[in-house]
C-alpha cells in the first residue's frame, strides 16, 4: 500500500499541497482527480522522490522512502523523457541496462500489443504513439506499483482505447496503480477508487462501486458536486 500522510509543499509562495492524505492499495486502481494545477503531478513526483516536500510522510508497504524501494515502483511521467534521436529498440536496451526489474518478455509483448516498431525513432513518434511507448517503459518493469501522470491526456480516441485496454488486461493484474487525470471519461468503469483534490487538499476519497451502491452517484456526479460548488 502507498500511504500518503499530511504532505505539504510550498512553491513560489503558494501552498500547492496543503496536507494531502490518502492511500493506494495493491491490486487496485486509484485515480487522483483534480483540475489543472491542483497538485496531482506534484504528489506523484513526491512519491517518486523527485521533488522535496515541506511536511508529512510517504510510506510504501510500511517502509519510508529510500532508493531500493524504487525498484518496486514504476513511474510513467506525462511525456517521454528518452532522447529523441534514440530508436525504440535502443530505449528498451537502455531500460534493460538500467533497471534490475526490467522484464524483456513483457516489453516484447507490449510492443506487439501497441503495434510499435523497434526501428522508429523516439523523435518521430506521433503523440498517441509516444504515449503508448511511454506506458510501455513503465509497464515493462516488474514493479508492485505503477504511477501514471495523465496517461490519457491530449491523445486521440484510438490510442486512448488501446491504453484503456491495458487496465483490463493481465499487464496490470495484482499491481497497485495510481494515476492522475483531469477528466474521468473512459476511466469511470476502470477505477476502483477516486481521490478528489481541491485547494491542495483531498476533498473526497471513495470507492466508486460503493458510491454507486450507497448514493447512486457516478464519479462524474461527485466531481460536479465538488468542483461546481
Amino acid at each position: 500500500m502507498i500511504e500518503v500522510k499530511d504532505i505539504r509543499k510550498r512553491y513560489r509562495r503558494r501552498d500547492v499541497l496543503n496536507g494531502v492524505s490518502f492511500t493506494a492499495a495493491k491490486g487496485e486502481i486509484t485515480c487522483l482527480i483534480g483540475v489543472n494545477g491542483a497538485g496531482k503531478s506534484t504528489i506523484l513526483k513526491a512519491i517518486m522522490g523527485l521533488t522535496p516536500i515541506s511536511g508529512g510522510s510517504i510510506h510504501i508497504d510500511e517502509q519510508s522512502l529510500r532508493p531500493q524501494l524504487y525498484e518496486k515502483i514504476a513511474f510513467v511521467p506525462d511525456h517521454l523523457t528518452m532522447p529523441s534521436g534514440m530508436k525504440l529498440s535502443e530505449a528498451i536496451k537502455f531500460m534493460a541496462d538500467f533497471y534490475d526489474s526490467w522484464n524483456n518478455a513483457r516489453a516484447r509483448e507490449l510492443m506487439q500489443f501497441f503495434r510499435l516498431n523497434y526501428s522508429d525513432k523516439i523523435g518521430s513518434l506521433s503523440k498517441g504513439t509516444a504515449a503508448k511507448f511511454n506506458l510501455l517503459l513503465g509497464l515493462g518493469q516488474d514493479s508492485d506499483y505503477l504511477l501514471m501522470d495523465e496517461p490519457f491526456s491530449g491523445i486521440d480516441l484510438f490510442s486512448r482505447e488501446a491504453i484503456a485496454n491495458v487496465f483490463t488486461s493481465d499487464l496490470i493484474e495484482g499491481r497497485g496503480v495510481l494515476l492522475t487525470t483531469h477528466e474521468i471519461g473512459e476511466l469511470e468503469h476502470l477505477i476502483d477508487k477516486a481521490v478528489l483534490l481541491q485547494d491542495g487538499k483531498v476533498s473526497r476519497a471513495f470507492n466508486c462501486e460503493e458510491m454507486r451502491y450507497e448514493e447512486g452517484k457516478s464519479v462524474i456526479d461527485v466531481m460536479r458536486e465538488v468542483y461546481r460548488a
Partner: protein
C-alpha cells in the same frame, strides 16, 4: 469467444453499481436462453477485457452470482451456469416481475383505466418488435 457473443454490446450506466449491472446482464442472457444450464462462462479476466471494466468489479459480480447460486466454480475449472433448471426458470419470472412492477408504479401515477393501458401496451409492444432492447 463464442460463449459470450454480444457481451461486448453492454452499455453500462454510471450510477448503478457496475457489478450489479453485470449480474443483471447474465440474468437477461439466461432468461432469453442465450446462456443455458451448465454452460461455461468467460474467465474473470476475459470478461473484464471484453466489457472494458475493472477486473475487481468482475470478480465481485461473479462472487455475487456464486452466492445466488447462478454460477458454480469448482476448484480451478472455469465457472459454469448452474444446472438447477428450476432456479434458471425463476430468473425469467424475477426479471419480468421487476420490470412490470416498475412500469406499474410509474403508470399508476397517471391514473389510467386498465383497459386503455393494456391496449396501449399491446400496440406499443407489437410495434417495438421482439428485438427491442
Amino acid at each position: 469467444m463464442n460463449t459470450s457473443e454480444g457481451s461486448t454490446e453492454v452499455t453500462f450506466n454510471n450510477r448503478d453499481p457496475v457489478y450489479l449491472q453485470v449480474v443483471r446482464h447474465f440474468k437477461e442472457r439466461i432468461a432469453t436462453g442465450q446462456l443455458s444450464a451448465g454452460q461455461v462462462i468467460p474467465s474473470r479476466r476475459e470478461l473484464g477485457a471484453l466489457m472494458k471494466i475493472n477486473p475487481n468489479t468482475v470478480q465481485k459480480a461473479y462472487k455475487e452470482m456464486e452466492e445466488q447460486q447462478l454460477i458454480i466454480t469448482e476448484g480451478n475449472s472455469p465457472s459454469r451456469i448452474t444446472n438447477d433448471t428450476e432456479l434458471l426458470n425463476q430468473i425469467r419470472s424475477e426479471l419480468l416481475g421487476e420490470a412490470v412492477s416498475a412500469f406499474v408504479a410509474s403508470v399508476r401515477k397517471i391514473d389510467v383505466p386498465i383497459e386503455e393501458l393494456l391496449q396501449l401496451v399491446r400496440s406499443k409492444y407489437q410495434e417495438g418488435g421482439p428485438e427491442h432492447d
